[in-house]
Symmetry: D4
Subunit: 252 residues, 8 copies
């Protein structure tokens, strides 16, 4: 309710067309209505700008998942994350043209995913995976980027102990505009990489590990404490978040 | 043992009718007895005031659960919470007229539950559920309110990312005397809603989430730290507690 | 920007009055503008409804504090919380008619506070303080309620070990519509009181304690875990929050 | 090696009977040997004093468990704790005269356990169980006491919400020399009981609970923070520890 | 309100002497009144049984502290714990015959404390202090025992690294009915001692330490996890609690 | 040592010019030497690329701080962060042309800082500060950006409760390529802003808060758990880190 | 790129043989290339020095595991750790001559493991296992040492409660150059042993335990806090790490 | 009490020279006496082997500290750690020939410390300090080694960001038999160094840092989680522990 709207209501009250108490209720609700109107349109905008909307499958019942996917699929391509094997089978039946990537736990409708290697090892954004067990989260990031149409690359098995394996990828590292480094245990990869490159690094800790490293909190803390400038951190196992940040970063 | 009771004992001792050591024991136990008498009657009062008594099923053996339900069912309607699928089947056999609501994990005897949607989207107390995975806890709150006979409403899928979906519910939000907001992950819903409404908001964190959000502690902390006045918080996943608070609030 | 607004822009574009790229920018910003408009009016409403606005003094520089108070004091009574001794002296100089309550760490302009006992021991809302060291937080709650014009009472020194001191206050407990129980260490007071009364109880843990009780986390957890129905919890030391919840609760 | 032993060695060195380097080695090892000798005899003493030795079954392989039981059974009665169903069956086959108590997770050889209720509700030491789900730990404490030959009683379902059920047990509470209170969730039972009785109270938190109460840490902290004097605390779920403490306490 | 009381009310209602609504209010309040009556008398009993009441000075204002001490001093000897230097001076002025023990942070009225060494090194209860920095807490325990009139002993500097210093105290250890072991850092003393003696051991962790040992949590956990039977644990730095447990134990 | 280098060594060994053990040592050290050579040059490159080097003053002695600044000032402009008042005075004396910004805790040599407001409210990167107490960290970010020569803006007091104050800044928000949102307590600002804008958001939690919000962990967790895509997180109070990330982002 | 390399490039630029921008790219990448060259050779050196490389099986897919083993097996003996039963069967099929040790969760190719007892009870390095449930981790350490060709011994069941069982092993303890003590629960074994021997002790906490001991954090903290000098600590359950430390220690 | 001792007692009982109950007491105490005898001699041995004994000054009163130093100084050189400025002055007065090293917080009697640089940059054991703020802990380690007479070196300012500064120290790194790496914040130095050298590395986290790095827990966890083999960890800030481990390591 803009100021003129308020004026209008007051005039209606003045000429007896609206009872004061009804006017009061309208005045009270109007600003909230304005705000939610804003949010509603903003949601539409998200669709229009082409990022599409994303479904977090974990914790959803079969019916909830299917309904959410179907509703969104009417307006464009859809991405679902954290899709387990059972949910994947369900969605494959419900959306015959859909695409299920079990290792990355992604399912898409309306836009295919690069299910099989080899994947490009360079791009505007480059995803690095430290260990074998960090691969699922790293592929979630990579697959999300592909869904959003980014020019993305993927390089595996370059944990701190295997940092030398980055050597053939040096030109790719130097050319990237953003690097996503995914690592569990002590989580030292992002800082090590940030010391090598000029572009910023997104750090994604994973829940892989044991002892004090179990659950990913040690990796998370290492990444947050990094003394090497140019590192920002995502939630544990949040490969999707890194992909979405990259999309906002590269699409401006 | 009131003062006159003490006097009586002393007089009995004086005239030799009671040995001093027996008197001592009585004096020592009397106040505790008074206290527990108080507690006993207070428990009866709980039944009399119509709230009924409630059974927490989780961790109970089949025999314990059946016995607890049967004992209480003699005096009026009974509610059991945290009833898993196996316990639900057991209770359905034991109490053929009972009512099992698997999603809300509730079982009642002597008072039916609104098992199937549509549920009213307005009421003196309104339960808001943020995400699909928060629904079980939100329905536990809603079902508890129904058991206690409250005028309760239920609105789903209005997490922070979907806050605009609240728009058609604005009059209901404005009319409510209490709102219960259920959310996991970052737990921002209660504060967002508290900024929109005039009535107080009960915040219920859920254990839904991953990474630092796993287990519900992050949501709990966000809710406790909220700068928006008018928010109080329940334990993680404690939908029943929100329902019971609402009952005490609205039945005065 | 409502739908008709969108239509209008499109028509302007159609007749060449607005360049498409300018229209795009307006379309993109419009919903956000709507939302923030809503928030702006909503802030005004907070003032109109009489709750006034509140300043959290802790961490503010002297200049920030004085400015914030002065700005709000133009539109009505103001409350500042967490005002330490130095800030209190500063504000007393800046606002000669103001009222500083050191123990409760409150400062008001335009509405006096009940600085000296005796305070009423009954009211629609009753604040209970467990131990001597919990008094500051309990008085923050009580003073906040007074600022908001509530019918509030205050009873001190009724921790679990001194619960019997509640006896003369029984009629007040029975008459209250809301009780706020403030306690540190093991935090058992709210549950004990909730077992005695029919109205709901707000539990406020305090940071008073030592060993595993230091900082208030043990009290907080006890209060959240309470099995007695009808208890909701505020942040540690958040007496203001309990007062604000009470205001929203009792003023509907 | 006592002082005279040291002297003897030196004399042997003096008269050439022992090479200095051999003497050095003996001198170095002697005190450690003394200490371990002490420990060895002390272990024997544990057997002689009649407490018998105890096997912690959890985490043991079948072979390890059977061997440990067999070795100890040669010298007297044996108690195994934390015996799961599979281990229980294994031990029943290996020790046909043994006694398996599944709910208490105990197995004994050479001394029967009171497998079936009713159990005495009074004794020198009295075990109180708060909720249905705390019963396993409470029975572990009670069964351990029976194994050690104590005069023990057991009372169930007297959690804070059911404290009034203690009323018929008042004389037993007053007569006990030690009370063991077992509780999960908010863990308030021990302090409540300690306020009623003259004897000390051992508090045993259980891992039963949910939300911030999950795992037993909230109950543990409440018990440690208790303001009521006369409470000491065992590890979470450590019913055996309470039984062993009682044995040392009552057998002096 | 006993059953006959309830009957009486009902009869009064029956003959019109009491209006039903007044009867209802009385019925509702009566059980709570009974309970609080019980608690009141129980508090008196605590005084009568000679344990006296205890004031926790930490966090109390000067006025609160002086008032609390004065009120209790009317009925018998009083003990205040956690009395800092400033509070001690204040109390010495207020209670000229009082006794202030700075190292133990205790102040008594009506019963002197053994301020100066040598202290007896044996007794029914024996307090062992691990390191120099644990001495304050250990003396709090020892002083509390002296206040309660126990036959208590004190032995210092027998931490794990100095365990051999226990040797001359062996007969005292063997004769004790209860041992209190106070230790910080890794907290291994209680278990080591429990392996040497037949009586139970109360373990008191202290907040002395650094790194992961800072604050006392590591010591607390070690003590709770002890595999040696016969150990129960108090809160960090809770020397008073150990003294009070001993008093309840030894005075039965 | 490249392969040809290795060959050369082997040839020298073959013709007896180098002893095998010396060759072994050289072979062993060579690769490490290569690596550290790389690091050395890389450090030089950091200087050449114009980012300059940065000194973290906290925890440095006066001599350490002065020496570090002097060494770097020889090669170009220098920035020191976390400079407290005493260190600031010291550096002002040592570097008369230097620039000390107390509120931002920054000191520079060779490049001035914008010490006084007004600061631009728009730029390629925009820093938003939630509350008054978050300003120091936000200015650390803003000042760092200015030192690195970025086109940066600063907007204060737009916490969740004051989000409507963003309205006049909408065009600036829409035009920014990166937004840094700094907030303490519940830390909800970054997610709220990320829902309004198209560019990515760096979230910086601050240690401002009390109760469960004290120290900044609650804010950190909220930011990590955010469901709104496009948010990455820095360490608590790490304003410098956000500035450095922005520099790497915008200078590519 | 050494200094002469840099010079060469500059000369090439000077004589027009290389375009400046190409030279810039080479200069930028050269130091990183040097560093990664170093790392590459360093990795080779690890193989040459005979320690071989090690595969961490946990979290690897079957394909990943098989590939990693096959690649390394080409250059020498390989060790895989954390091999579960299923992975063991897989590897046994893939590497018929391999050696699977289920209890130690180790698999080797090219070097057999001492699968069956009796194992030597003395050696340059001696592994002590506290309880039955700590054996898997202790054998991981022992097996790792055997793989690396160390002179290693193994002694089981010498937890604090069974410390006297060390007596026959005194000469072995005295002769060892390094001792590895593996323990869960309260983790007191390493400090107890360090008090007996002259050589340093590596402490390995295990995740065995319950209550506050669950997960191994209590044992870890105890070991870190140990007052007995000469103890250093590995991650929870990290038997391999202790074996590798021993290899580096003893092979110098 | 060896077996023959036991026999002797029994014979005395047999011939009536000793009453059975006295014999019983002797039998019960004998093994404990043996053990403590062992410990006593073992303590003496510590002195004889030349390591001397060490006083932890933190938390000691002036009197306690002076007494402890004086007692030990009678038998040889003494080292006190964690000596603050005030304690240092006190000790300088009490022991005029003593040596106080404020930065390392060490005080010695009977053996001088290398108070002033330059210190040797190589030795059998080499201490590396990451940042300026880690120097105090690193010097505590270095000074302890000097006190124990080790061949120790010290290299400062080689944190991960300054790793290239290690280059001139390569031969020293290669020659060392043990390296101690001291670091705060993200604690990555020890793993980085362990990847460069053949000898094992002791990692000492420091409490230096802010945000999630405050207190040293993040550095501790990183060090424990390190994937690079050959790293063992000490408590936070425990420089002395590293020095003592080195002494045991190098003096065998």
């Amino acid at each position: 309710m803009r100021d003129d709207g308020l004026l209008e209501v007051l005039e209606q009250v003045a000429r007896g067309a609206v009872a004061p108490e009804d006017a009061l209720a309208r005045c009270r609700l109007a600003p909230v209505e304005d705000m939610l109107t804003g949010l509603t349109l903003d949601a539409h905008r998200a669709v229009r700008t082409g990022l599409g909307e994303v479904v977090f499958a974990q914790g959803k019942s079969d019916a909830q998942l299917r309904t959410a996917m179907a509703r969104l699929a009417e307006t464009g391509p859809v991405l679902a994350t954290r899709v387990d094997a059972g949910q994947g089978r369900l969605l494959e039946q419900a959306f015959p043209g859909g695409c299920f990537w079990p290792e990355a736990r992604l399912f898409t409708v309306g836009r295919p995913l690069p299910l099989d290697p080899p994947w490009p090892a360079r791009g505007e954004v480059l995803v690095l995976s430290a260990g074998a067990a960090d691969r699922a989260t790293a592929l979630e990031a990579f697959g999300t980027m592909c869904f959003f149409g980014l020019d993305a690359g993927f390089v595996a098995d370059v944990g701190v102990a295997g940092l030398h394996r980055l050597k053939p990828h040096l030109p790719a590292l130097d050319a990237a505009r953003l690097i996503v480094a995914v690592a569990g245990m002590e989580g030292a990869l992002p800082a090590a990489v940030a010391g090598l490159v000029r572009c910023p690094v997104l750090a994604v800790p994973t829940s892989v590990g044991y002892g004090v490293g179990a659950g990913g909190r040690a990796a998370l803390q290492t990444m947050l404490c990094s003394c090497v400038p140019g590192v920002a951190v995502l939630n544990i196992d949040n490969g999707f978040g890194a992909g979405a940040f990259a999309a906002k970063y590269l699409r401006r």
